[in-house]
């Protein structure tokens, strides 16, 4: 997912073209005056991810993440599991793009330990946090169970995840990046993938939306607003029109 950079370059191009049409020869190239600027196809529709292959994870990491998202969201009568829904692919594409690089965030130093009310103060990007975190997780399970995380039984995997969640397991990370923060990052990203529009790689066949009854990208509920306490009759739609 490469919105910001792609959006910027294309937008700059269009904006300057539009501005020239409006005010050729003005003192400043971004000046807008006399009309509402408009150019055709100036929107920035999102680009669906390619579901094949891994862009960020190496094969071992990918298998571990697939195992983790399947424990966070196990397959059952309510929905397929996190892996089948594409949550690992979603995380991979996020880490390969602007999110993984922390390109929106304030990343200037000095980096100093903060108070909980001051939020994350580490110097690692999300991509860096996954790389370090997954390596430390592999070290932990190999020391404790003599196996990679993905080779553990489901019960053992849950035990490790619950240990990270509850602060009982401490991975060897680095100052400013705790095991609990690593766990929260993975959980948040997994849920994003599960519940986001399918175009980002997760929520395949809108499985999560069907599970809870969220109609997705529908944009008009005027016919149901006054039907109090009655189920909404229509299933979900996605941005690219999957019904």
């Amino acid at each position: 997912m490469q919105h910001p950079s792609r959006a910027l370059s294309r937008r700059s191009l269009l904006a300057s073209a539009a501005a020239m049409a409006v005010l050729a020869g003005s003192a400043d190239g971004k000046s807008l005056s006399g009309t509402v600027p408009w150019s055709p196809f100036a929107g920035e529709p999102p680009r669906p991810v390619n579901p094949l292959g891994w862009y960020f994870f190496n094969p071992g990491e990918a298998a571990t993440i697939e195992a983790i998202v399947d424990r966070f969201i196990p397959g059952d009568h309510l929905s397929p599991g996190g892996k089948a829904c594409g949550c690992a692919v979603y995380i991979d594409r996020q880490l390969a793009g602007a999110f993984g690089q922390a390109s929106r965030l304030y990343m200037k130093g000095p980096f100093m330990p903060g108070l909980p009310t001051q939020g994350f103060q580490g110097d690692l990007t999300p991509a860096g946090r996954y790389r370090l975190g997954l390596r430390a997780l592999a070290d932990y399970t190999n020391t404790t169970y003599k196996k990679d995380f993905r080779a553990l039984t489901a019960e053992q995997q849950d035990e490790v995840l619950a240990g990270l969640d509850g602060g009982k397991i401490t991975l060897k990370l680095k100052p400013g990046f705790s095991s609990k923060e690593f766990f929260e990052l993975m959980l948040q990203n997994t849920m994003e993938g599960f519940f986001a529009d399918p175009l980002y790689g997760g929520n395949k066949n809108m499985a999560s939306w069907k599970m809870i009854g969220f109609p997705g990208a529908r944009y008009d509920y005027r016919d149901h607003i006054d039907k109090h306490n009655q189920p909404y009759p229509n299933g979900p739609v996605s941005i690219y029109g999957q019904v």
Binding site: L32, Y106, Q118, G119, D197, P215, D226
Partner: protein
């Protein structure tokens, strides 16, 4: 060397709600106006396209329309004894960016503050005695209700606000808010239709003797032609409102209400992707002569002007004043100085209730589709037997059911695994909530200044926010949480949970983008940065317009007041200042 540009009558910094209203009013009066906006041009058909705006990940989670911290961050701490650190991502509040500013992605709750707010110190002292408020830095705003009422009216008729009046010229109206101050006429459009949860809320609290009314909404109940002749559409309850731009032309914003007219005025020019670095003053520091900005190509430009209007987000207005040395920095130890004084926020809590066998359909929502009650807000109730002043509006607003963020589960449910899934399914259709939006009153130690360590991409110091919830506001909020607990019982839920605020404002979870103060209006230049017309006491050709001017924050959303202040300042400039430039108030 900055490129020197031809002079304009007025230079506006920031093209959001206040910038566009000021620009419209000033160009209408014949002035040549340029607005310089840091972010991009944005408009409905191109940027808020209904083919893809309903994208929770892109807009609500990755926050595409907001100010990004790599452009401008802020540092924060809870008190002066701590070291401030940068908020590396915005969390507790989310400032806007680009043309339209936060007016693009707000929810649309459009309130007026009350008569008692504008003279809060006088009013509370008269009612309870000076000792009751001795720990607070409350002060009158310098403007009175009767002076400014028509400015609220102007903003509401620009926006087409949907609501029900509660008090027209002193006559209490059935179905409206009986605690509001007298308004001159009814809202421009009728209230929105209500979904299930707010309807239940209204029924429940009415049964307890309270006074529910439809939340005044900038998501329009019907098509409307506004005071500038711009046509708007009916809200479709799409559930993608706050954090999103509206693709339906049905949420009031600079794009839907002002820009279609403003952009056609030949004496108006917008410069986008241009970041103002500072306001340049004359050598004696008593007049502004120009602003310096960096344009889209990275070129530094100097734009001279007779009047400079700071119309950025309130916090950025304060930073711009400090960077430009307009007025003196407030010092919380000595109490001297005015810029950075009386920074306030919002003191909120929430109630959530769980039922069985319901269909709340939370995705049928709009930013302001809901019911409110003010029985416990402001000075609507007697405070003589409680140990605080202020209060909270209670709002049952169904804004969305977007599932990445909004999937409540019964307290005690796991956060992942098979049992989490079942709890998520159960909670989604079976729960409803309501919230308390509490007032935030000024204390000496909450303030804004420039950070000594951290800088932005141009090397300028970041703004430093020093804030914690004052004891008064915590006591108020706990009282409100107690009332909310009583209210939940009227619904007879399977389970109810009400949150209680704690000391230690946390900058991470989202709370409210209602940051106020720092460049407050008032009658005394020793305790306010701008006079009653939002004119700088120190540099009289600078006006500072926004929530930065609030002398305190009430238990109500600020945008209605911000819009009114924009009209109020515009009127002072066009009817008084341009006829006789100089200080409009002599202290």
């Amino acid at each position: 060397m900055a490129r020197l540009l031809p002079k304009k009558d007025a230079v506006i910094v920031g093209l959001g709600w206040t910038g566009s209203i000021l620009a419209q009013q000033l160009t209408e009066a014949g002035l040549n106006v340029v607005a310089i906006e840091r972010g991009p041009w944005r408009d409905t058909p191109t940027d808020f396209n209904i083919a893809y705006v309903q994208d929770e990940l892109r807009y609500a989670i990755r926050k595409e329309l907001f100010l990004q911290p790599n452009v401008e961050a802020m540092t924060m701490r809870n008190n002066a004894g701590q070291r401030a650190l940068p908020m590396r991502d915005y969390g507790s509040f989310l400032p806007g960016h680009g043309v339209g500013g936060a007016g693009v992605h707000w929810n649309g709750h459009t309130w007026r503050f009350w008569e008692s707010d504008f003279q809060i110190k006088t009013h509370l002292t008269r009612r309870y005695g000076a000792a009751k408020i001795k720990n607070l830095q409350l002060q009158d705003w310098g403007v009175t209700w009767n002076e400014i009422e028509h400015s609220f009216d102007a903003f509401e008729y620009l926006c087409g606000i949907s609501g029900k009046a509660g008090n027209i010229k002193g006559q209490i109206q059935a179905g409206g808010n009986p605690f509001e101050s007298p308004r001159s006429r009814e809202y421009p459009t009728p209230p929105m239709q209500m979904s299930y949860a707010p309807s239940l809320f209204a029924e429940a609290v009415k049964g307890m003797g309270y006074h529910p009314f439809p939340t005044p909404s900038a998501n329009l109940s019907e098509a409307y032609v506004n005071s500038l002749g711009v046509r708007m559409g009916q809200c479709t309850f799409c559930g993608f409102c706050e954090r999103f731009a509206c693709g339906n032309y049905s949420k009031s914003s600079p794009q839907t209400c002002v820009l279609p007219v403003l952009m056609k005025n030949p004496n108006f020019e917008a410069r986008t992707d241009c970041e103002v670095l500072k306001v340049n003053l004359t050598q004696d520091g008593k007049m502004a002569k120009s602003v310096t900005y960096i344009d889209a190509t990275g070129t530094e430009c100097e734009q001279p002007g007779d009047i400079v209007l700071l119309c950025a987000y309130g916090l950025m207005n304060v930073r711009m004043m400090l960077l430009s040395k307009i007025g003196a920095q407030y010092d919380p130890v000595s109490g001297q100085g005015t810029v950075g004084r009386n920074y306030c926020y919002q003191t909120s809590s929430g109630a959530r209730m769980f039922f069985e066998g319901k269909h709340f359909n939370p995705f049928i929502g709009a930013g302001s589709m809901g019911q409110s009650m003010d029985d416990f807000n402001g000075d609507a109730f007697d405070h003589s037997k409680v140990d605080f002043v202020g209060g909270a509006g209670l709002n049952c607003v169904v804004s969305n059911g977007r599932p990445i963020s909004n999937r409540p589960t019964m307290p005690g449910s796991p956060r992942w695994g098979a049992k989490w899934k079942q709890a998520t399914v159960d909670g989604y259709q079976n729960s409803m909530g309501f919230s308390a939006q509490g007032s935030s009153y000024p204390v000496r130690e909450n303030y804004l200044d420039l950070d000594p360590s951290y800088t932005d991409r141009h090397g300028r110091p970041l703004l430093r926010v020093t804030f914690d919830f004052p004891d008064n506001d915590i006591a108020m909020s706990h009282f409100i949480s107690g009332q909310m607990e009583k209210i939940t019982k009227a619904f007879n839920p399977k389970f109810a949970a009400v949150s209680r605020i704690k000391k230690g404002w946390d900058s991470v979870p989202y709370q409210s983008t209602h940051n106020t103060g720092g460049a407050i209006m008032g009658g005394n230049p020793k305790t306010s940065a701008v006079n009653k017309y939002l004119q700088s006491w120190d540099v009289p050709n600078v006006f500072v317009i926004g929530a930065s001017a609030f002398a305190h924050n009430a238990g109500l959303n600020p945008t209605g007041v911000v819009g009114a202040l924009a009209y109020w300042a515009a009127e002072a400039i066009t009817t008084k200042y341009i006829k006789s430039p100089g200080a409009l108030v002599h202290a």
